[in-house]
């Protein structure tokens, strides 16, 4: 019984895994060394590792974004929140503050942003896209206010280690993304939060009538998104050892939303899977890395991206899936 259900769970993930496989295979086709890995100083190196490493910020964003989208919302502010968190961290680190304060302050800034969004959506009942658009615009300004428009660089090795060190042979951002995803998945699935998020996303009114604390759950979802964005902001700041308030996380909200959608969570809320959103983030990054490795002129980047996304769409569309089941069924005796 349980086995059957688990198998069905895997079956549900099939389109995403298939998509990832297709994109990776395409990368291999344009760049034969794509799967080469080598171990150096106890850390793995190779294009595949780059995909994981570079995909980490979007993957981290997609964790929070999944929850928000599952409540039938959307968080456009994550890119700006990344910039704020990065600006706070870099400024404090450049000031020589201890690392726990640096990281603590950045995460607190992210949490505050998330709670603000949650407040607008849950309490003031402002449409999520507009509510978070406000912070998307303002947030980047706030980040620049913190850095005074400059790229603030720092030398603190402890902060740099957030991106530069490694664990289990993998770059730290990957470890952080996976750990965060597991914690988040555990948080929502080992408690009833996941169920309530889904219930609210499907029918907020009915859920409220059933006694679900819709406001609290919404706040929790947006807060998670804020914190995740802060973590992503820390990662990119640590990576370039500086905070670029204007460009950090620019347009990454679109990538994060795309990752969630590729991961199979509907923009109309409801059923969600954090781990599949990670797969979605990997698909996007594998696509980006593939474009870089291919050596096509940069003018082609967007066209290639458009074509690949279209193919993914077709592959994952319910219509095509139905066709596939139909063909399979008519094959059977």
């Amino acid at each position: 019984m349980t086995l059957a259900r688990n198998l069905r769970g895997v079956g549900g993930a099939l389109p995403q895994i298939l998509t990832l496989a297709v994109v990776l295979a395409a990368n291999w086709a344009v760049f034969p060394d794509f799967f080469d890995l080598r171990l150096q100083d106890g850390r793995l190196f190779g294009s595949l590792v780059d995909v994981l490493n570079r995909g980490a910020p979007v993957a981290i964003l997609s964790i929070g974004m999944t929850l928000v989208i599952a409540t039938r919302g959307v968080d456009l502010s994550v890119g700006a929140v990344m910039a704020i968190a990065g600006a706070v961290a870099a400024t404090l680190a450049a000031d020589g503050q201890p690392i726990f304060l640096v990281i603590g302050a950045a995460l607190a800034a992210g949490l505050a942003c998330g709670l603000w969004n949650g407040f607008l959506v849950a309490v003031l009942d402002i449409q999520p896209i507009i509510a978070t658009l406000i912070l998307m615009v303002t947030g980047r300004g706030i980040a620049q206010l913190v850095t005074e428009g400059q790229i603030v660089t720092f030398t603190d090795p402890a902060l740099a280690a957030v991106a530069a060190s490694s664990a289990f042979g993998l770059p730290m951002p990957v470890v952080i993304a996976v750990a965060l995803a597991l914690v988040a998945a555990l948080l929502v699935r080992a408690t009833a939060l996941g169920l309530m998020i889904e219930a609210i996303g499907v029918n907020r009114l009915a859920s409220a009538y059933a006694g679900v604390d819709a406001r609290g759950v919404l706040m929790a979802a947006y807060a998670t998104s804020g914190v995740a964005a802060a973590v992503a902001g820390l990662v990119v700041t640590a990576d370039i050892r500086g905070a670029d308030a204007n460009n950090a996380g620019l347009w990454l909200e679109l990538d994060a939303i795309l990752a969630v959608v590729i991961g199979g969570t509907s923009l109309f809320g409801g059923r969600f899977s954090i781990l599949l959103s990670l797969v979605g983030a990997l698909v996007i990054q594998a696509l980006n890395t593939g474009i870089l490795l291919s050596g096509y002129p940069p003018e082609m980047n967007l066209i290639v991206k458009a074509v690949v996304i279209t193919v993914i769409l077709v592959l994952q569309s319910p219509a095509v899936r139905r066709l596939a089941t139909f063909l399979k069924r008519s094959d059977a005796p």
Partner: protein, 502 residues
């Protein structure tokens, strides 16, 4: 055999959904000018038959002939073009459009290519006047009660039906007067030669207006009979495949008035919502709420359950003053509420039956104390058995269940919280006779164990059958309360009409 020629002929219709054979080679014949009841238990396949016939679902096999010509409507617009007007079971109108737009969607009168708003409003008003509905055609549909929406849906379908009118449980929240208006219309159409398919769980209505009945069970055809040759018992037996004990009509009112009230409301009301009212509800007691359409019964229920907070008066639970500011607060006090509008206020459509059943219990426990999977399975299994919820799988999204089974799952949701006070707004809406009896038996048992109950129903008979006391509403105000021997159909009707009690 039968002199009237067949208008709509269905042969060997089959339809499967993953895990269910919803229709298994079903035959159905509708003759011109007849009113034909389509009957069966919850989940028997009635709605599916209608949906396949009108192009909502593609059929897996079989044949549909209209006037002897095989048809295969690709979508509902196609069915409408064939002259089939349908009211689907769930109110399927558009709450964001105006009443007039809903009536004429897709066929608005135009002048020079533009919608002729004035004419549309006029036509709409005329159409609605036939049903005694004096709503503003320009008002947004969603502002109206379920009953009004249902009348609009009926008016639309009737207007669309050139040959066939299909009504899937249209009377569920209509009061007796509205039902009579509907029946007059239906009879008029039948007299004009239109064939009417009528799905209902109210057997009285079947005997009142139907000429013939087709009964389904588990997706299969049981048989077709002329109503005149049929007794009530026969019909129930056909539907259930067994006999139903008639013991359900006992009533137990007046037995437990001595206990201390569980809930008492004094001057409890909200401006522009419900006029202040006094009400006491004792453990083990059933309080019925009667009134006409729009009399404020649903609003009263929402006020008591904290959907809207009261702005006057006080509420006391177990002798303690309480504030019922939200459904959450109400649930914490041990209240439960099955709303009338199950699609928008009740079910969480994409979630499974199990999750829907445990939702309220989980909400009350808080998100930090999840109900373990095993326990949830056990709870769901218990209620599926207890209420006979027909589903192929407890993980099936609840929106795929038949209407009556959704209703049962909602009842299960609150029963699972072991509430002390349950508010049911039109609880038997869409529930079949067999299940109806089961549910009433269950409620009586719960009342014996001390549950307090407030039941809103448009069926006065039903209210009389199980209420200890009856609250009568008019114009959003409580206008009377009947107890003891006064609880009778006649007494209630009088009170509603506003006549002084003898």
């Amino acid at each position: 055999m039968d002199p009237t020629p067949a208008l709509l002929e269905i042969r060997g219709l089959a339809k499967s959904f993953p895990g269910v054979k919803a229709l298994d080679r079903v035959d159905f014949t509708l003759r011109a000018g007849e009113i034909h009841a389509l009957l069966g238990e919850n989940g028997a396949g009635k709605s599916t038959l209608i949906k396949v016939m009108t192009g909502v679902h593609r059929r897996d096999g079989g044949e549909v002939r209209l006037d002897g010509v095989a048809i295969d409507p690709a979508d509902t617009a196609d069915a409408q073009r064939h002259g089939i007007g349908t009211v689907y079971q769930e109110v399927n109108l558009l709450p964001n459009l105006t009443v007039a737009e809903n009536l004429f969607l897709g066929r608005q009168p135009t002048r020079l290519g533009f919608v002729d708003g004035r004419r549309m409003r006029r036509d709409a008003a005329a159409l609605l006047a036939e049903y005694g509905l004096a709503v503003d055609p320009d008002s947004v549909l969603g502002e109206h009660s379920v009953a009004v929406q249902q009348i609009v849906a009926i008016a639309r379908a009737v207007d669309l039906s050139g040959k066939v009118l299909v009504l899937d449980e249209p009377t569920a929240s209509l009061d007796a007067g509205e039902v009579q208006v509907l029946f007059q219309t239906v009879r008029r159409l039948a007299a004009r030669g239109i064939g009417v398919v009528f799905v209902t769980h109210f057997l009285d209505q079947v005997f009142e207006i139907c000429d013939r009945a087709t009964v389904l069970r588990n997706g299969r055809l049981v048989g077709e009979r002329r109503i005149a040759e049929l007794s009530r018992l026969d019909l129930v037996t056909m539907m259930l495949g067994r006999e139903l004990a008639e013991e359900t009509m006992i009533r137990h009112r007046g037995t437990r008035t001595a206990a201390e009230p569980f809930l008492s409301l004094a001057g409890y009301g909200r401006r522009a919502f419900v006029q202040p009212l006094d009400l006491e509800i004792r453990p083990g007691e059933v309080v019925g709420v009667a009134g006409l359409l729009g009399s404020g019964r649903t609003e009263t229920a929402k006020l008591v359950f904290g959907v809207k907070e009261a702005d006057s008066g006080s509420a006391t639970v177990d002798g303690r003053r309480v504030r019922i500011a939200s459904p959450r607060a109400a649930a914490a006090l041990g209240f439960g509420f099955c709303p009338e509008d199950r699609k928008t206020e009740g079910i969480v459509g994409d979630l499974g039956v199990r999750e829907n059943i445990v939702l309220a219990l989980q909400a009350r426990r808080g998100w930090l104390r999840p109900i373990p999977r095993r326990e949830a399975e056990a709870i769901a299994a218990r209620f599926v058995r207890l209420l006979d919820i027909r589903t192929s799988d407890v993980d099936k999204p609840i929106r795929l269940l038949s209407g009556g089974n959704q209703q049962k799952a909602l009842l299960a949701r609150w029963l699972a919280t072991e509430p002390r006070f349950l508010i049911l707004d039109e609880p038997t809406r869409g529930i079949d006779v067999g299940a109806h009896a089961e549910i009433i038996r269950l409620i009586e048992k719960l009342c014996d164990d001390g549950l307090a109950l407030m039941v809103i129903s448009s069926e006065i008979d039903e209210i009389v059958a199980y209420s200890d006391r009856v609250v009568v509403m008019r114009d959003r105000a409580k206008v009377g309360e009947l107890a003891g021997a006064d609880v009778s159909v006649e007494g209630i009707v009088r009170a509603i009409a506003g006549e002084a009690r003898p």
